[in-house]
């Protein structure tokens, strides 16, 4: 082992970033922490509440139900978007005009603001005037996202897949493009089947970007609010009330600041925890190369 020079003064170089992060993240987060341990009856008068709000939230089924729905949502869209994105990337033209054309075409959904996406699908799915809803209805399929929970779930999942599969596809495509031709040529010489080319060349070379894609999609989907809210408003009943929708209902609808703050913090910790687990597991897989 080589002797390393240790110079603690280097830590000062981190200060500017620390300052920035403090203002953009730490201080706002601390105000939430502040709310979560106090109670108020208005007039800006606060009472110390300790961990009461946390206890209350943890024993409340409402948050657990929302968490379950949320996990189901994220797992489902990941299970669809990742394989579908890879499939799209594998079938895109590798170069030339059509390659650029496909890239632009695929980027389009990514450029649409969230609430516009929600509105598009809200109208698209309406049974009375929506192209999708009306067509399905005419075909005799019972589809009404305002009354039928299955239809509501199907709508928000298809919407998310429509909106975000492109991101996975673009990242996977970038990973594929970085593979030198010689690999494919060598595979031909070695008489590798199409599946083996995918399994031993393309997938390993894409694993880095795919990990980023999965992490991004997980975090984003876990925090999703606008799109499903615009389409279903969390309904019918509570069927599509995901974590953030529930949180907003609690904080702004009912103005339960203390419980909502406790909820927020736990929400944040859950995302942090799952992302960390994802990252650790995937980098380990990468090292072991399973």
């Amino acid at each position: 082992m080589q002797q390393k020079t240790v110079n603690n003064k280097a830590w000062f170089l981190v200060l500017p970033v620390l300052l920035l992060v403090a203002f953009s993240a730490v201080i706002p987060l601390m105000t939430v922490v502040n709310y979560s341990v106090q109670d108020t009856f208005g007039n800006n008068v606060f009472f110390w509440a300790g961990l009461d709000w946390f206890r209350e939230m943890l024993s409340d089924e409402r948050m657990w139900d929302a968490l379950q729905r949320q996990l189901f949502f994220s797992a489902t869209i990941l299970a669809i978007e990742v394989p579908l994105g890879i499939f799209v990337a594998l079938n895109m033209p590798k170069s030339g005009f059509w390659s650029s054309f496909c890239l632009v075409l695929m980027s389009l959904p990514l450029l649409i603001p969230w609430n516009v996406v929600g509105t598009i699908w809200q109208i698209f799915g309406r049974v009375d005037i929506g192209l999708l809803g009306h067509t399905l209805d005419a075909l005799g399929i019972d589809y009404n996202y305002t009354q039928n929970p299955v239809a509501a779930w199907a709508t928000i999942i298809v919407m998310d897949v429509w909106h975000w599969t492109s991101l996975v596809a673009l990242l996977a495509f970038a990973g594929l493009k970085s593979i030198p031709d010689a690999y494919y040529q060598a595979a031909k010489i070695d008489q590798a089947s199409r599946w083996k080319v995918f399994r031993y060349i393309e997938l390993p070379k894409m694993s880095g970007v795919l990990m980023i894609a999965i992490l991004l999609r997980f975090m984003d989907s876990f925090m999703i609010y606008t799109e499903p809210f615009v389409v279903t408003g969390g309904g019918p009943g509570n069927a599509t009330t995901l974590l953030s929708i529930d949180l907003v209902k609690m904080a702004l609808g009912q103005f339960d600041l203390g419980p909502a703050a406790a909820f927020s913090i736990m929400y944040f910790l859950v995302i942090l925890l799952i992302s960390w687990v994802f990252y650790t597991v995937m980098t380990n897989l990468d090292k072991k190369g399973v």
Binding site: P180, A182, Q185, A186, K188, I189, Y200
Partner: protein, 360 residues
């Protein structure tokens, strides 16, 4: 193993090539004899790799045919040709172990595991990686990876030909010698047809029975190392092979003498009338510096290369190199150069002119 015939072959990367300058590989007819070791030598971008990829089927030529033992394989996919090819940059399957990497071509062809294990052991010994077989290929150094690529190329015994596309570029010099020796031994033991692409003349001349020199998409000469040295068919061969390359001087030819700026140089052989851009070529090895014999030169520099000395000089305004022995004393009074008359070659428009009486 097979004899590989190139019939009227040419290739352009453009969809509609207009003239010869659009062709990366210009028309070529040649038979690669079964079991010979060839080197394809040329500067970067001269069409070497194009030719190699056409033979292995990675590229379909724009015109002409490729035949293996008389059978047309021009449009046959790579797998059917049963060819092994090693590329310039290492290709390994990162997620596999070294063992699985070497076994990959055999397993894909459905060989049984006992045979695979035996072959992998043999190859691992050959490339010196027996210790590392259970390691993952990812994270190995460039030369270890390239050794794996070479191993994968050699693991099949029944290949029609082994093609190497500058395989030793990324390998350490001492390892280069060792691997090249291994390749020669492999050729000697199994008699595969081998084609070895390189831009390194030493590599080409030591590896091959026959060297194919390419220049600007064209094969300019095919010959033994000896022939390339003694009788370069094209000025490019003279310049590219040899260190330093052949001296090329514009001249006029009159029978058995060449005339440069009014001074006469005996040629040792007679020539008919020569037209076009006429030049003579003399290798530095066959030029001699002395105090009293030959044409006047201006000395510029003497470089000691260890085994010999290289004299950089000027003859009638043209740069000229002369090689003198390691012990030769070079004094300021030595201002004349003479040439070994039988070793002077005559070129018209860059191509060698056959002297009268020599079999063409």
């Amino acid at each position: 193993m097979a004899r590989i015939t190139l019939d009227n072959l040419a290739h352009s990367y453009l969809p509609r090539p207009a003239g010869p300058e659009d062709y990366a590989l210009k028309e070529l007819n040649y038979d690669w004899e079964d079991g010979e070791a060839y080197a394809l030598l040329g500067a970067s971008g001269c069409g070497k790799s194009t030719l190699l990829n056409i033979i292995s089927g990675l590229l379909i030529p724009s015109q002409g045919r490729v035949l293996f033992d008389g059978q047309d394989v021009t449009h046959a996919p790579t797998a059917e040709r049963n060819i092994a090819q090693v590329f310039q940059f290492p290709v390994v399957y990162d997620t596999m172990t070294v063992h699985d990497n070497l076994a990959f071509p055999l397993r894909n062809r459905g060989r049984d595991e006992a045979y695979v294990a035996e072959r992998v052991q043999e190859i691992a010994r050959m490339i010196g990686m027996e210790e590392m077989l259970t390691r993952r290929a990812q994270g190995l150094g460039a030369d270890a990876k390239q050794k794996i690529s070479l191993g994968r190329g050699m693991v099949r015994k029944d290949v029609n030909a082994l093609l190497f596309d500058e395989p030793l570029t990324v390998i350490d010099p001492h390892m280069k010698w060792e691997l090249r020796t291994q390749l020669k031994k492999l050729h000697h033991d199994f008699g595969h047809t081998m084609i070895y692409v390189t831009h390194d003349q030493t590599e080409a001349l030591t590896f091959a029975d026959k060297v194919v020199v390419m220049h600007d998409g064209r094969v300019v000469q095919i010959g033994t190392p000896d022939e390339l040295f003694e009788r370069p068919e094209h000025t490019f061969v003279g310049y590219f092979i040899g260190s330093p390359g052949m001296n090329i001087l514009p001249a006029k030819i009159e029978g058995d003498r060449a005339i440069i700026d009014g001074a006469e140089i005996p040629l040792g052989r007679g020539y008919g009338p020569v037209d076009g851009k006429v030049e003579i070529g003399i290798r530095p090895e066959f030029a001699r510096l002395s105090a009293d014999e030959g044409l006047p030169v201006t000395l510029r520099r003497v470089e000691d290369a260890g085994r010999h000395k290289i004299i950089r000089a000027e003859l009638f305004g043209h740069d000229i190199n002369i090689i003198a022995g390691e012990d030769a004393l070079i004094g300021p009074d030595m201002t004349r150069v003479s040439f070994d008359a039988r070793r002077v070659n005559v070129y018209a428009d860059d191509w060698r002119v056959t002297p009268v009486g020599e079999a063409a």
